[in-house]
Symmetry: C2
Subunit: 713 residues, 2 copies
Amino acid sequence: MILAALLTSVVINLGLCFIFFTLYSVLRKQPGNITVYAPRLVSEGKRQEGDQFNLERLLPATTAGWVRKAWETSEEEFLSTAGLDAFVFMRIFVFSLKIFTFGGIVGLLILLPINCTGSQLHDDSDFQNKSLDSFSISNVNNGSNRLWIHFCAAYVFTGVVCILLYDEYEHISSKRIACFYSSKPEPHHFTILVRGIPVPHGSTCNDIVEHFFQEYHPSTYHSHSVVRRSSKLQILVTDAERLYKRLTQLKDKDNAPQRHRRDGCLGLFGHKVDILDHYEKTLGDIADNVRMEQSSLAGKEIPAAFVSFKSRFGAAIALNIQEGVNPTDWSTEQAPEPHDVYWPFFSVTFIRRWISKLVAYVACNILTILFLIPVALVQGLIHLDQLETMFPSLRCILRMAVVSQVITGYFPILILQMFLSAVPPIMIMLSSLQGYISWSQIQKSACSKVLWFTIWNIFFTNVLSGSALYRLTIFLEPKEFPRVLAEAVPAQASFFIAYVVTFGWTNIASELFQLIPLLYNYINIIFVGDSDDDDFEAPSIQYHSEIPRILFFGLLGVIYFILAPLILPFLLVYFCLGYIIYRNQLLNVYMAKYQTGGEFWPTVHNYTIFSLVLMHIIVIGIFGLKKLPIASALTLPLPILTLLFNEYCQKRFFPIFKAYPAECLIKKDRQDQNEPNMPEFYDKLVKAYNDPALMPIKYSGGSHKPLLPCADV
Amino acid sequence: MILAALLTSVVINLGLCFIFFTLYSVLRKQPGNITVYAPRLVSEGKRQEGDQFNLERLLPATTAGWVRKAWETSEEEFLSTAGLDAFVFMRIFVFSLKIFTFGGIVGLLILLPINCTGSQLHDDSDFQNKSLDSFSISNVNNGSNRLWIHFCAAYVFTGVVCILLYDEYEHISSKRIACFYSSKPEPHHFTILVRGIPVPHGSTCNDIVEHFFQEYHPSTYHSHSVVRRSSKLQILVTDAERLYKRLTQLKDKDNAPQRHRRDGCLGLFGHKVDILDHYEKTLGDIADNVRMEQSSLAGKEIPAAFVSFKSRFGAAIALNIQEGVNPTDWSTEQAPEPHDVYWPFFSVTFIRRWISKLVAYVACNILTILFLIPVALVQGLIHLDQLETMFPSLRCILRMAVVSQVITGYFPILILQMFLSAVPPIMIMLSSLQGYISWSQIQKSACSKVLWFTIWNIFFTNVLSGSALYRLTIFLEPKEFPRVLAEAVPAQASFFIAYVVTFGWTNIASELFQLIPLLYNYINIIFVGDSDDDDFEAPSIQYHSEIPRILFFGLLGVIYFILAPLILPFLLVYFCLGYIIYRNQLLNVYMAKYQTGGEFWPTVHNYTIFSLVLMHIIVIGIFGLKKLPIASALTLPLPILTLLFNEYCQKRFFPIFKAYPAECLIKKDRQDQNEPNMPEFYDKLVKAYNDPALMPIKYSGGSHKPLLPCADV
């Protein structure tokens, strides 16, 4: 890729970003779009839908308003509004900005001039047609002593990143503890999930659990609720709820023409019927089914129960000490928040859960392998010369400057992007098969799946198949690894710079613009009509797709800091935009459904360590290729030191993210003793972990009488 | 190796065993040898030293007596006499006998005939000169369908081993729990070791510990003792004790000529002095030093303490829940038995401990690498033809039948053995550098070090350097691994059969004979005179050298079951002998100083799984070499299934060996409440974990007044 192509790409994407920004500034002030651009505020009741109270709504000039607001919100204010997970998410940007500001200064002021003044590549073209490779380490002459500056840079950069990583981990763990101290009593702090309860023939799980905990934890045991096999019921209840919602909408509108349709295929043939009657009849049938199912559920106990304790410390004791003589019986884990529980999987037997896990694992690998095909196609597109030989008839078109620049700079990444957007939902599906008991755990697991998927399918596949696909076999020859990477990675620098500009920038801008919710909103207004639903729910941010995306840019920055520092300014722009935009979105748009308590940070930390070690391996290879074997050997301690540092961090901070220490639990328990509304909380605790499918169904629309009879209250 | 050479070896070793047995039968009845052949009974006071009450002591005929006794002792009796660790040790023999009886029947009746009737090796020599390779799988014709029988045998054998492994793990864990239930209250059940106590400037560790546990574990905290830096004092006390012992001996004998010696170099020059006076003076000096040191120790606190609790469950709570907000502070681990504590390492700072760990790790690796040299020499000796080309002048001697048979059958293993016997003490030394807090942990760690050392240096080095040393590089090419092993391992079958016969049999017989203690005993009687020391101590069995040795024979059996089943009868003889002899030794000779509670079994289990997987890898390679790729592919699920089985066993049984479950702890605590002597036990508990170097020194010889004044009682 030449400099001119990169500039074209930059200009196109700056243009796109500008368009998105202007549109956002205008559209967000339209009253109809408030559910798109400030759904959080709507659902919190701070702003009303269709609010007419805005004067300057066609002036795009006050764009800076939202930027200033996002910028000025203090850390404490942000934390209390958006929660710890959002805070951790924003720390990724802060951390990246810190390391790449340092990296950028060193890279652009010291490394880039050294690279440019080299003459290894003999690139004597004028500035505009200069290949981007001339700005990379490939251009430094073999055996040149200037490479020692790169060597020092690798050490200094690693040191700075490690110090910042340590600070960040410390900062976030202290925030986690502080959040715990300031939290109200919450059911999941007092509750554990017990699985593998050994139920002898003739007795019920309910009795066994009660007897066991009254016997062995008499002073702390509070209550329990046994899980029941309710998957069939869940489907029925969901059906009923959907139908009831539709029914209410129809009743509200009361427009006769829409109330009749034919009862045949697709509503096109057959007799005309009143839909209202039809729906009510169906709902009645379902209600009967639900009633029957609920009454028969008493016998469908699963040997698992949520056991609540009188104190947090009591729950921690039962959680941490192996209960029964057989370690597979009475296995305990921390309960998630009640609305975070993933109920469907409780219905499944142990052996089916085990098989599901295996299937999920295999499927995840197959997905990774099959994904190579579209990526390889995309790779074909950027290598224009290959395309020319494949389609000689297209040669004249392909040689047009504009076409070639669009193809090399923009087109391939768009295709890749389309395929990639399907990956996070698939990974969520696979993770939900793995037997996790809560949505947040599923999301966390999907997050790391997507992370490794991204590394493998964007980084390694581009790097290795860009040069030659058969090099994939190098993973079976660990000795060759640094050399092969050192040859392939710098060659792809220009691809990844273009990737940052095209994919990164546009993606961040479109995050602000919220194209799909906006379209959905318009369609809704036009076809369905403006429904003032009372139970309007703000969307929650998809950490499992956002975090891997952002971290991947971090990986690129870390790896190319030594090889091609030209990537850093583009990354800095990305992280600056991201910081402001995501702060705005988290304050106005997204609302977390459940909190993990900052548990995403260890993933971020590990990934950064991985990036560093990968960088070291490549640098070792580079020094080998550049005929500086001493530098290569002297870099060897760097990954070892980094891994030792990581080992220490794991010991120092990771346990804080797994569980709260005794000190905190006991202090918090003592605070509660003075709390006046604890008896009320304990009363609620008894029913907190009942399966929602087993609860008498309530509808939030107060004006309508519930159609379903309360089966057993 | 030909059959005749093997038979020579068998005859020599049977002869040696017979000699050892006869000598044992005669010598064990001599009253002077009772400290060699029944030290356990002596130290338990069941038999007196120099007991004259034996009539038939020169008749070797009643050999069967001890065999019958060892055989007839019931499992319960053995367990209560020798302890759980000895029981686990004997289960290795029982388990090995079970699997190799099954393996032997299948191997000799089914696999061996198939191997013999093959014609791949074209070995048409008569029976006596037949190469042992003709009995191995190498002799089966390539692509022969008979190999499917080997394939089935691999599956069936793995299945049987896994079932027996499961049974054994279950049996031993139930014994472990039963032992816990039947145990008296012991200090280490009630105590944990706390390290990394954060001591702010100006306060003492003592106060901090007391305050912390009274604050957070008020109902269960009992007492604590802070560890002090006492390494200097320990040396002084050891010196004083040694000197005192020598002094007592001298006083007892009261023979004037020995009481004087010259005070110069080596006691040969200088003035004549009375040793008694000299010793007493020195002892006085040391006593002063000890007094001074002990009084100055108050300030030398180490931020570590043994904290005792009122109940086992209380200790388990403090052990399992992270105490402080910073996970590196207040780190807890289970306390060992008081006399099992390894005191020297407490004196060392955290950073020195960390460096020691690293040094131990590196040293362990270097030892493994350097060890290749003697093994390679030994390898040279068995390849007679190589020796002939190296020393052409020796050709005539080397071609003599007896010489060649001795060289190939017996000599090399003896040299190897000499080098190997130095390894376990070195590994103990390295493990003691690794920061373990008890002797039993050091022994356990040394045991696994010796295990891997044995696999690497006896198995892999023999197999790979026996064919070619350069093949060591295959560990960097995982793809080639099965093929290389499949070529090399069957070729070494004859070496390992000889190894079992020579090394295994003789070793077991010499274990019975106890050559070195016997010689030491005679030297002692002749030069020092018969000392009736009251504090006579029975030796303890060196699990870290015995277990790896026995398990290695198990590994050979598992690996060669398919390849060369001829090894199995020799192994069965080994395990039969071992069972009887070690049972006898554990009942009469060895006495455990400390118990791990059967914690060696998980090591045995993991090692057996490793052996199975290694066998599978070799079998996969073999089928590849034998042109039966389908069988090769169909064997692939076998290691995966085995590893899954291991995964399950780890979940099902391993936690029982790490800690006792809440159920047991609470039941045991409730039992104690009715125990009348608990107050007495709690009183003892306070002082149980005081550093012995800080205790006022007592001497067991009641007739002598202690020379050292009790510094501070």
